[in-house]
Symmetry: C2
Subunit: 377 residues, 2 copies
């Protein structure tokens, strides 16, 4: 059965849901200020990392992430085919390294836990690490190789999702949703929504868009939507992350890239990652900060990222600082995304993907397709 | 006698010369791509610092800088009057601090030398330093107070110079000079210059501007001007400087500024400065790098500046990183500017001001006025 579906949000989750729902035959509209350039997805690094994202006590989340990773190759091929865009899906793997012996001990504990979860991860000596990634600092004292943790060019992915959505018939409305009206609570309030009983989105210019179903994929903006009973929605808070983009300068532009795979590290207890792009830029991230809805780029955070990144890969000193940004990850109390119907009629949610939006976009979109397929209303 | 004077360059030196020459009755044209936003002047911090810029073995330069400082108050008042702009001329003085005992010893040696040159500078204990500037790190172990080293808002200064120049009748041509033709060497090459015997500037669009005199104030661009016998020009090379601009964020916007005067420091042997602005932004600089004509913002340089600045004033961590830039100081072999006639007929030069362009702009402009006043041709 074909539904009119309105997706709120133009990040990786909203766009993936929109594309797959449209491909499944639904009549889909995306409302977002700048689809494909919004929110955390644009700022992100694009890691697809179920294993190196393992945290103690989050076995259920790891299982979800591993399942997400299994669908990525097929999703990537389908998206590149549908959009005609290369999304920079890179399967060269990830190396996590330790900078001191404490970091080394912490990684060994993590490795043992990864193994209990059934993950594929290999202990590597310092010289093995440097053999894999010659740009590493001489201070690196060992690490973990995870061949199955990949990465994607997040911005190429977003562009491809917009293109694939357009090709599948998705309508894009460049605006913001300020409120959602459901059911009969304000049926007499506007003409646009009067002819049907589904939910209605109120846009920033006051206009109203009705639909059979609304999918809330607005990331950290989800709790700010008006007209909703917040108790019926999952609890989502912003976790700020600073991130840098570096690129080769001068004669290095023509040379080989600094890194041949994603490098993650523990640097005296602090986590950092460096993700290479096909254009030889490097994405360096990311801080984890509880600062509310604040995307100010702080000098101290930029210092921390540069300090830790150059401790692991000294060659970054010669790269150009192209961008310093901060984004807000949509986090839930248990770090697990919320995908399904809300307590509000006709309103579904796909948010709370925290650090794993890129990785979980395919499985989230598939789940949303299943959700609407069984909906008979 | 009134001359037609063409000034090449829209930095602080070119604009100051243009304004003062026009005020002296000359018919002045400035050629620059974006007058008041060009080159090193736009990137600079605006320190007016004859004493804290003292280097061993540069007594003659220090005398020049002290002389420059003596004229600044009058220049500032005249410029603010002529332009109607506040230029942020701040006489709160400068405190140079040491971060470790080696830095302390180096500052003591510098202080003794400053005293032999007759400079006013006072030794301050660690607690005296913190009394003067409460935001200093507890690690600071003493310093030198220099009440006579001031600062100006370099960008406000440039805007005021453009406005004062316009009010005095200066013509601004937004273009670049690619070459200078002098005398009869190519008298038949163009009509524009054929009617007079003075030098001619060739612009990037091929057009030609004749004048009685040309003043080369193009900073590091000076050696790149075509048509000139380079042997007749002073040797000028670019010395790269990275600089940051930081500003208050969130609730700090309404609070007091972090610094109440310019703070300079030796941080384990490396020099850094932090210059406050009336709008509560801070200018943090600057590296000294011999890298040719390269203005790439390098990650390593940004790290170095942040690292040293936060060692001296930890509160910068919470500031927003507004800008990271690199500029090219025009340096001469003896670090002393070159102001006077070149070996080419009708062509004067005012360049090579290195780290002291703002400070020396008034005296340089006055010297150029004198130069043309005695010229009888």
């Amino acid at each position: 059965m074909t539904h009119r579906v309105l997706v709120v949000g133009g990040g990786v989750i909203g766009l993936s849901c929109a594309w797959r729902l449209a491909a499944d035959g639904h009549q889909v509209t995306v409302v977002a200020p700048t689809p494909g350039r919004d929110g955390a997805s644009w700022v992100a690094a694009g890691m697809l990392a179920p294993v190196t994202e393992v945290q103690f006590g989050e076995a259920a989340l790891t299982e979800l992430l591993l399942e997400g990773a299994r669908g990525w190759k097929e999703f990537s091929a389908a998206l590149e085919g549908a959009s005609g865009h290369d999304i920079g899906y890179d399967q060269s793997g990830t190396l996590t390294v330790a900078l001191d012996t404490s970091d080394r001990a912490a990684l060994d504990e993590l490795l043992a836990y990864q193994h209990t979860l059934g993950c594929t991860a290999h202990r590597r000596t310092a010289s093995e690490c440097r053999g894999l990634v010659p740009a590493l600092s001489p201070m690196v004292c060992g690490g973990i190789e995870v061949p199955g943790d990949h990465h994607v060019d997040n911005r190429a992915l977003l562009r491809a999702l917009v293109a694939a959505g357009q090709a599948a018939g998705v309508t894009f409305v460049r605006s913001s949703v300020t409120a959602i009206s459901t059911g009969n609570t304000d049926a007499g309030a506007g003409n646009a929504g009067a002819a049907q009983s589904g939910p209605v989105a109120v846009l920033s210019d006051g206009s109203r868009l009705g639909a059979d179903h609304i999918v809330l994929a607005a990331g950290v903006g989800t709790p700010h939507l008006g007209g909703l009973d917040q108790a019926a929605l999952p609890e989502i808070r912003p976790v700020k992350g600073h991130i840098l983009r570096l690129g080769p300068a001068g004669s290095d532009v023509a040379g080989p890239p600094l890194l041949n795979r994603t490098v993650r590290a523990l640097v005296h207890g602090r986590s950092i990652y460096l993700v290479p792009r096909p254009d030889k830029t490097l994405v360096v991230g990311a801080t984890m900060e509880e600062r509310g809805y604040d995307v100010t780029v702080r000098a101290g955070a930029v210092h921390e990222l540069l300090c830790d990144a150059r401790a692991v890969v000294p060659g970054i000193d010669e790269l150009e600082l192209l961008e310093a940004q901060a984004g807000l990850r949509p986090a839930t109390p248990d770090n697990t995304p919320v995908v399904g119907w809300t307590g509000l009629p006709g309103v579904a949610v796909a948010s709370g993907h925290f650090r794993n939006g890129m990785l979980l976009a395919p499985s989230t979109a598939a789940a949303m397709v299943d959700l609407l397929a069984v909906e008979t209303r």
